[in-house]
Amino acid sequence: MDLKKLLTPFTAWGNITKDPVTIKDPFNERPGADRYRGFHKNDIDQCIGCGTCEVICENEAIDLVPVSDSKDGDSGLRPMIDYGRCCWCALCVDICTTNSLSLSNEYTWVSTDPEDFRFVPGVDKKDWDNNEKGWKKPDNYEFYSLKRVHMDELSPEERSDSFIEMMKGYSKEQAQQEADRCVQCGICTATCPAHMGIPEYIKAIRNDDLEEGLRILYDTNPLPEICGRICTHKCETVCSMGHKGDPISIRWLKRYIADQNPSEKYKEILEVENLQPKGKKVAIIGSGPSGLSAAHYLALMGYEVKIFEKLEAAGGMMRYGIPEYRLPYDQIDKDIDYILSLGVEIQYNVTIGKDITLDQLGKDYDAVFSGTGLHLGRSTGIPGSDNKHVYASPDLLRWIVEGKEFEVPESVVVIGGGNVAMDITRSMARLQMVKYGKVQVIATALETEENLPADLEEVVEGREEACIINAGWAPVEIEIKDGVPTGLHVVKCNSLFDSEGRFNPQTDPNVKEFWPGTMIIESIGQGMDLSYISEEFKTKLEFGPRGRVQTDEYFQTGVEWFFMGGDIIEGPDVIHGIANGHKAAVGIDIMLNPEKN
């Protein structure tokens, strides 16, 4: 026996002099660390109820329960967490699209009732709601890419003098990469006027099943090529990914699906070979988006559809209101040709009210849908706006499409900050570039830079093309010299709406500017032309504010067989028109087949 080894262990008794290291008050002394993953907190104002947390939770611990009304960009649902499932991994926090969810550093919850352990963070008040510490998503750490995949486009130099389509479209890799960013929450679907199955078709892109994608598109939207280019993409404004990063390029992804499917295979893909004719006829006035959409769905239901178009080509505003560099004509034709291939007839150069009366149409057909759109340019009414060199943008745009000759001046001023204003601005810039090799177009908008109604990329691209876009100026007077405008006087506009939200621009007359230009284009909105409806007929219709005809949910007017939709009812934009046309088609079917419903 080793004596040393017998005695050394006794040195442990030296510890008797040391005080205990025990935590004296274990309930308060040691709060969770700054990053501790304790109980959940949720900033419910920030949360949009996208449900991504529910999807990522591997324990199925999260349920979405309704706590408020649904509205655009907010489902009204909030996560309810079951602490009988949760494992506090905080994946839900890391993936949260709005950064609203976080964990506190509180960690004690004792209860006798197992049913207690469910709560909606943020809604059910808890002690730890105001706890600053706890797990938050670290910086430089994402579960998905926040950056939108860049779409190739023509450079400003290449595009500034041509009407060739500037956005080149996504390649397969780019589209899949962009589609990969989607968290498939479906918040966008409610906001889309046509309620397109956006997450579904994005999923189809991820799975590289573009035929399925096309089928999903045609469920709700018979003009995907067009919408894929010029849609106002309200969906992207509510996209849950837009809270932390760039929203998904939903519009470009739609375009990708439509572009990749050859038109000759459409019928096969969409399985529309055997349509059952119903033997009833529907007339459609106007071949704009709403008319085409109504025609498509009616044709699918087996109706005999005939479209009456005033102009020489179909497409309405899509063809005549949108410059070619944004929406090439062959793409319009692709969508329209497919619809016509379903058996839809179209008659051009027919003006209702002139060539054929509406009442006659009502007699000849079982139902009539009118989607005549907004073709009249509105005027600002400022001094000098009645000059003949002051144009309305719809007319100019139509002339450009029709190839009508008109004089392209060296300097142009555009009044308006919306997308149409940008279209005409950039079209004029191109024409100037062709003619003079330089650009001098000034667009002036009432709204401030941040609130410009036009899409941001339109503004950015316009500026790249050397257009000058001045935001926050109110037009005062068009200076006329020798019957020709020389420019526009503007004053600074400080605010647009008063405290009650009414349109009431406040200007500062002391800050003045003068934009020179020999052509002034007014592009502050369009008006409708209901001249084709006879006064007698009008008495049967009900008119609401701003001269719009009142319709029911299915766009049926006071006259049973007469349906109206599109820009004249809602809008103005393509996607509303499509949605209206679709719904009107359903309404027509309900009206014509009451026994089925």
Partner: protein
């Protein structure tokens, strides 16, 4: 490493070589030659450690893959030997035992028998219960056994939970009459 693989290919007709990284390769051997190949690897090529035996159920292809992972501590190399068995509907695939090569192999084989239903005739204690107790359903690791379904049927999940899909919920609240429901379901029999 290369020597062992060459031997496998030349002597035992191994195929489908997949080099995952330097020092780790996977290769397929016919099941009749597998035990001979493993013995060769152990006794001659220096793969003296059996890292694991496991199975992968390729139910779509009708294949039950057995993987023997062998380690050569001298050359610092690992070979994953894949043996493809024909998958049977009701379990009961059969493979030769290797418990004589490593004493631990019998435990793996016992586990495979229990969890996958793969039979290793003559392996000692093969039918003794290992992990499960009183199990009377299908071998649970086979792909056709649905653990979630089994759990829900057996273990009384706590009731009272209801979730809402955001898109569906918004549709219900904001646009209950979606025209596409109408056009899809009622009028297009092809959908």
């Amino acid at each position: 490493m290369q020597k062992g693989i060459n031997n496998l290919i030349e002597k035992f007709g191994a195929s489908d070589l997949e080099v995952r990284r330097p020092g780790l390769s996977f290769i397929t051997v016919e099941n009749t030659k597998a035990v001979a190949a493993i013995t060769h690897l152990k006794d001659i090529d220096g793969y003296t450690i059996l890292s694991l035996i496991t199975a992968v159920d390729w139910i779509e292809d009708g294949i039950m893959q057995l993987t023997y992972l062998l380690n050569n501590p001298e050359e610092i190399a690992e070979i994953g030997l894949r043996v493809m068995l024909e998958r049977k509907e009701e379990a009961g695939e059969s493979m030769e035992t290797i418990h004589h090569l490593w004493p631990n192999a019998k435990k793996w084989q016992q586990e495979l028998k229990e969890m996958f239903g793969i039979d290793f005739p003559t392996s000692p204690g093969l039918n003794d219960p290992f992990i499960l107790e009183g199990w009377d359903a299908a071998p649970p690791y086979r792909r056709d056994f649905d653990t979630n379904k089994y759990a829900e049927e057996t273990f009384f999940p706590r009731p009272g939970r209801e979730t809402h899909d955001p898109a569906e919920h918004m549709k219900k609240n904001m646009y209950p009459n979606n025209p596409s429901d109408y056009t899809n379901k009622k009028y297009n029999p092809n959908r």
